[in-house]
Point group: C2
Chain length 332, copies 2
């Protein structure tokens, strides 16, 4: 049987039961943005790992080595942000083809260090080895949460509002510009930078984890159409999203108009935004939105609501039902 018939999550479901009895009662393993492990009486560890493969996750000729170093860590710190954690350390493994020289690696490490220093994340170890063809990078990152306060995908409650911490679709638009070898339209550099150097929402995650109304949380890596389903499945809930409320940047709107793209579809299905997707009880929404805007200088966007039912997303355009053309990335 081919892997693409069952996909990444079908594969995980095959082996997960085999390992169930090795997990201790006070640990949370596979199935969330991070594993959760008791640290001490007041804190939990949150730990994640992400693999980046050349020509699958990035094109070496398109991303600068400095951006690649930054992004390799950023996608991991984003998972820690999604738990409401503070990142503390990372482990970097890198398989290096002979076509890459030391100067490239110096730049890669400078980008990795730039983000490490921003959040005081120690580089604690790693592995460097040869690769015959593709540059391949694995990062394992760890962080800490106040005990029992990590936000899990399973925590969504009926009536919760569905929110995101920032604009969607810019990263996917940047990738599309690259893959379609588009002309250098207005906003080209902005959209490519959103794709090549995402910013983990660490401070936003910590802010949200401190608010009791905030329930389920995850980061947006495959696009909300795909990512939200994980929250719904884990929580046993349904959801309604109003496509009109998806936050889309003016730059993306203009690019979509110029190139005849569907900006809403990119915002709903495009991956790698690395904003946070979360659900929260509707009480005190205005106060929380105001505090968020004051603290971060950007709005907290409400895009839909959690409901009872099977784990299906109903897409609305105002009052009318609508359908989505794609459903996020399928990795295989």
């Amino acid at each position: 049987m081919k892997l693409k018939e069952i996909g990444e999550f079908g594969f995980i479901e095959r082996f997960k039961p085999l390992f169930n009895d090795l997990i201790q009662d006070n640990q949370i393993g596979i199935g969330d943005d991070c594993a959760i492990i008791p640290a001490n009486e007041t804190e939990d560890w949150v730990i994640t790992t992400d693999l980046l493969v050349e020509d699958v996750h990035f094109l070496r000729e398109a991303i600068t080595p400095r951006q690649l170093g930054y992004k390799s860590l950023a996608v991991n710190l984003s998972d820690i942000a999604a738990m409401g954690g503070t990142p503390t350390g990372s482990f970097l493994s890198i398989a290096i083809p002979s076509s890459i020289d030391v100067e490239y690696l110096d730049e890669f490490m400078a980008g990795y260090h730039e983000l490490s220093a921003k959040y005081g994340v120690a580089l604690l170890g790693g592995d460097t080895t040869k690769s015959l063809k593709h540059l391949t990078i694995n990062v394992c990152a760890m962080g800490k949460c106040a005990k029992g306060k990590a936000r899990k995908r399973s925590m969504a409650q009926t009536g919760d509002l569905i929110c995101v911490t920032g604009q969607l679709g810019d990263s996917a638009a940047g990738l599309k510009l690259l893959l379609e070898k588009s002309p250098r339209i207005a906003g080209y550099d902005y959209l490519l930078a959103k794709h090549h150097q995402p910013e983990p929402q660490i401070a936003e995650g910590l802010f949200l984890a401190d608010i009791s109304e905030v329930h389920a949380m995850m980061d947006i890596s495959d696009g909300i159409a795909s990512d939200l389903k994980h929250i719904l499945k884990a929580s046993g809930k349904a959801a309604t999203i109003d496509v009109n409320k998806l936050p889309v940047s003016d730059i993306l709107k203009n690019a979509a108009q110029t190139l005849d793209w569907n900006a809403e579809e990119l915002a709903a299905s495009g991956g790698e935004d690395y904003e946070l997707l979360f659900t929260m009880a509707p009480e005190n929404l205005e106060t929380i939105q105001q505090q968020f805007a004051e603290r971060f200088g950007k709005p907290l966007y409400v895009i839909g609501q959690i409901a009872d039912g099977e784990s299906i997303v109903s897409w609305m355009k105002g009052d009318k039902k609508t359908e989505l053309g794609r459903s996020g990335f399928n990795h295989f």
Copy 2:
């Protein structure tokens, strides 16, 4: 500049200073088999990561998927054994080319589970993704040590005996049989199994970490000629090894005779034995050797001694000086 001009360790030395100020005083980062991080008042975490790349670390047609799953975890647990730690959890990242089917992955996970279950190691998370060509596996494993008891490479003392927990060179011989497409000589399967399914010396590491005479410790992944230098450099010491005392299996001796190989050279320079290499004060040697033999049914081999001086290994054959043809694997 090409990476092979400076090698893996030259590369690490380039970026390590950049990250120094991010390490906390109570953490040990890059430079040992594992990082050491405080866990609680009585324990430390020991954490390691290893990357395995197809056609660099293994040949897909030679190793069974079950062996590959087992080995991917084993090489990491070996690093935890080298600190004297008890492994507790792992994270598995895997980049999968389309030529690999689900049945292959089922077998891979069965092998990974077999070793996980042997030591009660929980699979806590991971990442699965596509690869365009080579199967690539990264494991990050964590374990615990009694506080302050982890054995570091820097702990060797002048006069210490240099010891190993098992026979050397079998794994390198297995690889050589494969690469030279050798005929199926006597012991062929044994030597290949030593290469394809190494056994991490967890119980041996715990036993040794409990003995105050045991000082520096590491696992043998690149061959003692190369690995011992890390202990010497970290400890600021020199060493003498008696080639006559290198423990070589009868199977390897016979294979070497049949195929005109140098068994001593394989034992000294061949990689991937995953036995433990350690130094210990000579007091109570006989008692410790006796306890080790009773507990593990194999001898504790003394192969040399630590001395004052620059980090150089002097190779002896009894009383006479000798030279080694190779010096372990160079990864680039």
